[in-house]
Amino acid sequence: MIDFELSPDIASTYEQLHMLAEHAMRPIAREYDEREHEKPWDFINMMWQLSRSSGIGPGASKDKDAKDKGAAAVDRERNLRTVVAVEELSWGDAGLYLAIPGPGLGGAAVMAVGTPDQKQRFLSRFKGEKPVWSAMAITEPGCGSDSAAIQATAVRDGDHWVLNGTKIFCTSGLMAGDPSKSNGFVVVWATVDRSAGRAGIKSFIVDAGTPGMTIAKCEDKLGIRASDTATLIFEDCRIPFDNILGSPEVPKTSEGFKGVMATFDATRPIVAASALGVGRAALDFVRDELKKQGVEIRYGAGPRKLTALERDFMDMETQLQAARLLTWRAAWMMDQGQKNNLEASMAKAKAGFVVTQVTQKAVEILGPLGYSRELLLEKWMRDAKINDIFEGTQQINMMIIARRILGYSSKELS
């Protein structure tokens, strides 16, 4: 039966995280935007302790709840809780949210397809004393949205794999790959057989500090500066044979690759949720300012009565809520064990686009002050834009939607 009310369980997660976002993230948001490439260690350590003690935060929450309420209670709403949590943390600050330690994308991959031994070796780290990151290395200089064109190679050499190639736009690549930052790991996509195309693409777990993996650079970015975006170079990087995720066999079909791509179905709603948080931060700020100025939004008024400002605000609010409902639906479907490939891409495409528009409009509405770095609005506009790009650009997600509704393969529609 249709219900739009958060469960008390999730609602309380929300409450806690909202406090955290307001009091622990907002105050340092500007600082770590200006001090690019420096890390908010106090915040990072606090989040790590918090997630271990009280189960707050997207990464860790479920372990904690498991203890409290038994696995059932957890799994039933895990994805929904995650998107609610991520929206709230991103409402605090999207850059800081991305800098929070935890399993993240790499961990999610291990969780999804890792062997018991791999889970033991890699996931246990996230229960330790010190913050640990993992990262996902997919994009290459020569391939942006075109994951199938991956050039990085993995060649078997006895009981090792030897990796070669360059990976860019690797979120938290520094924190996950540099042993001086954390005992983390990076999940790297590479091909074991280029002639096999997509079918030859596998993912490999590379421990922080593995010889042959160097962190060549961290990008200067438009926004989300508290989070590092690393370039990783692999030169004859040897890793244990067991570090391959999934089977080393190259199937005849590209089913395996589809499997890899399927992890996006889980991560796209999370990116959408992060977008929503940034958009709502801007919307809340504008609402409060308008209230201070005595401008009220007259819901229900006839069209002739509306000011341009009122209508702008209403449009921003409606678009944002539309994106939120699409996001909740995609996460809810995952919780129900339903395929959500289409809905996940709808959520991501809509949210990424909407928050770009909403934050840009918010800057305009507040005039000279909106454009100033004295307020956070201009930062939110810069942070928001990444959501229109990573985890599949708006165009890539529209393509996926189109393929699904038209029943086309990637050959038939590209």
């Binding site: 039966m1 249709i2 709808m346």
Partner: protein, 369 residues
């Protein structure tokens, strides 16, 4: 706890309506539009679905199901998917019965509701809109004032569905308080009341199959109990929101009809050696339609859900209706664009979808959830 799944009863109702819209309504959509008539057989067939009778309490002859805005939204969307004019015709009686069931005195219900529980379609209607550029349902120019034990209604209405057929019309009129503030009120006006004049059939860009008329009210004397929930602003806000959800739901139906039509056309139609759907320019348009149809519906469901919890859903319903009106126009216009020249001729239904969709930003009170 968040849930996006309909309950079993809702699924059952929707499936019934889906079939009727597909098999009965859609095949008549073009002819009904060109001729300006909804076939009597369809009206009777629609009546037999029991969509009007269902929420009328058993004591008045109905099936006594609980009224649900969400269920109403499902029905409105699916019927409008078949055809907007026909959907509005079939559901017009609810414009009268839903407010009656919710707000009428027992005596009034006794006298009016049984007529809507018979074997034959019983027309009902509401007169909400007014023929002004700057019409605003929150401040109707049609006036209502006390006179002794009665009320006097005066003013001019337009877009009154089945205006010449309905024996009773729910009229939106504004009562002016001592402080000069205008408060909308819903008044049930029997058509035979002295001073009621039903105007001629209106001609509009869309909704051609639906009879809509103007309605003149010249000092019509109405018994006190015919004014529903007098002075209860919250009840009137709820009614306005039920209208918004009703119209918005139909907008989704029309938008989805256009999207489905364009999608199937684009898969069949070939140009430059491919199906045109294989061109990004077309494929992305279709993808956006699919995405926005879902987005519209979710916003509407949230508003309907709030109404079913009897919370004030003014913000949600108002915003959802605006969004649905804007998006249904964009979607039907893009659907026509996908068909190109073929979309511009009346051999295809998309131009009809566009003409109908353009009305949603303006229409108020022609449907109720």
């Amino acid at each position: 706890m968040i849930n996006f799944e309909l309950d079993e009863e809702q699924k059952l109702i929707r499936d019934t309506v889906v079939g009727f819209a597909r098999d009965e309504i859609r095949p008549h959509a073009r002819e009904a539009d060109e001729k300006g008539v909804v076939p009597a057989s369809l009206v009777q067939g629609g009546w037999e679905l029991g969509l009007v009778q269902s929420i009328i309490p058993e004591e008045y002859g109905g099936f006594g199901s609980q009224h649900s805005a969400l269920t109403g939204s499902l029905v409105a969307e699916e019927l409008a998917y078949g055809d907007l004019s026909i959907a509005m015709h079939l559901l017009a009686p609810r414009l009268l019965t839903v407010p009656l069931v919710e707000l009428g005195t027992d005596a009034l219900k006794k006298s009016l509701l049984p007529a809507f529980c018979g074997d034959a379609f019983e027309p009902g209607s509401a007169a909400v809109m007014e023929p002004r550029f700057d019409f605003d349902a929150t401040a109707p120019a049609t006036t209502l004032r006390r006179e002794g034990d009665d009320y006097i209604v005066s003013g001019g209405k337009c877009f009154v569905p089945l205006g010449s057929q309905a024996k009773h019309v729910l009229v939106l009129a504004g009562i002016t308080n001592g402080d000069g503030s205008i408060h909308p009120q819903a008044v049930i006006v029997p058509r035979d009341t002295p001073g009621v004049k039903v105007g001629g059939r209106e001609k509009n860009m869309g909704l051609k199959a639906l009879e809509t008329t103007t309605l003149e009210l010249d000092g019509c004397r109405i018994p006190r109990d015919h004014v529903l929930a007098a002075g209860d602003d919250a009840a009137m806000r709820r009614l306005a929101n039920l209208w918004r959800v009703g119209i918005a739901s139909m907008a989704v139906g029309v938008a989805r009809a256009a999207y489905d039509y364009a999608r199937e056309y684009a898969k069949d139609r070939r140009a430059f050696g491919q199906a045109i759907a294989q061109k990004q320019a077309i494929a992305f348009m279709l993808a956006e339609m699919a995405m926005e149809v879902d987005a519209m519906r979710l916003l509407i469901w949230e508003a309907a859900w709030k109404l079913d919890r009897h919370e004030d859903a003014t913000r949600e319903a108002y915003l959802a209706k605006r969004y649905a009106a804007d998006m249904s126009l964009k979607i039907t216009d893009n659907a026509l664009q996908v068909l190109g020249g073929h979309g511009y001729i009346r051999d295809h239904l998309v131009e009809l979808f566009l003409r109908n969709a353009r009305g949603f930003s303006t229409l108020e009170g022609l449907a109720i959830a």
